[in-house]
């Protein structure tokens, strides 16, 4: 059972544009929602995370929007840069930031110069 669905599978954005990646979850017991960035040949790196008691969290050019009633959350990358080209994974866990993570299938982002 796929508990976290991520879309789109791939995304091409022009430099300076906004990249938007969406995730939907099924289990209402999830209480921690991180986003990871992965470059080829590297392990995933924690980018930003949110808990369900807030609807938005911003760190620099990266923003998570969270809709608890719709069981959806999204990553917005403002002013996208070629260096942002990577694979992005959303995830969710039931026991805060120390619980096992259930990952989405990933989105490959290409930012064109």
């Amino acid at each position: 059972q796929q508990q976290v669905k991520q879309s789109p599978q791939s995304l091409i954005v022009q430099k300076g544009g906004i990249s938007i990646i969406n995730c939907a979850y099924e289990n209402t017991a999830f209480d921690y929602f991180p986003w990871y960035q992965q470059f080829p040949g590297k392990g995933p790196a924690l980018l930003i995370a949110i808990r369900p008691d807030v609807s938005e969290k911003k760190e620099g050019r990266f923003t998570i929007s969270f809709n608890k009633s719709a069981k959806q959350f999204s990553l917005h990358i403002m002013d996208s840069q070629p260096g942002d080209s990577a694979t992005y994974f959303c995830a969710a866990s039931k026991n805060g930031n120390t619980g096992k993570l259930i990952f989405g299938q990933g989105t490959t982002l290409q930012v064109k110069p």
């Binding site: 392990g43 995933p44 790196a45």
Partner: protein
């Protein structure tokens, strides 16, 4: 400071052989996780260690897979009688009690 390290970085083995993968977590991190990433896929949870508690083994795909952790340090993931479908990148992560999970670079396992 040093991040999570894993060894070997690459492992090629023949079908039916046993393999051991090693993870050195960030010092002081009480939690340690193993995940598997098949080519072009998301990460699948395998096993989770938290301090002295019994490990959460709910993600292990078969009894050919096992893992151990020595206290709050090194962990080894063992795959017995490897099969071609075991080919993947095996990722280890560690976490302190108040922050997210930090991943190592992974071990790429190829079973011929």
């Amino acid at each position: 400071g040093a991040g999570v390290s894993q060894s070997p970085s690459n492992k090629v083995t023949e079908k039916g052989k046993d393999v051991e993968l090693r993870c050195d977590p960030i010092s002081g991190h009480t939690a340690l996780y193993w995940y598997r990433q098949r080519l072009g896929q998301g990460l699948e949870f395998l096993i989770y260690f938290q301090g002295n508690s019994a490990p959460d083994k709910s993600g292990l795909p078969s009894d050919r897979f096992s893992a151990e952790r020595t206290g709050e340090s090194v962990s080894t993931l063992t795959i017995q009688r490897t099969q071609q479908e075991d080919s993947a990148v095996y990722l280890c992560a560690s976490s302190p009690t108040s922050d997210g999970q930090y991943f190592g670079p992974g071990t790429r396992l190829t079973v011929l």
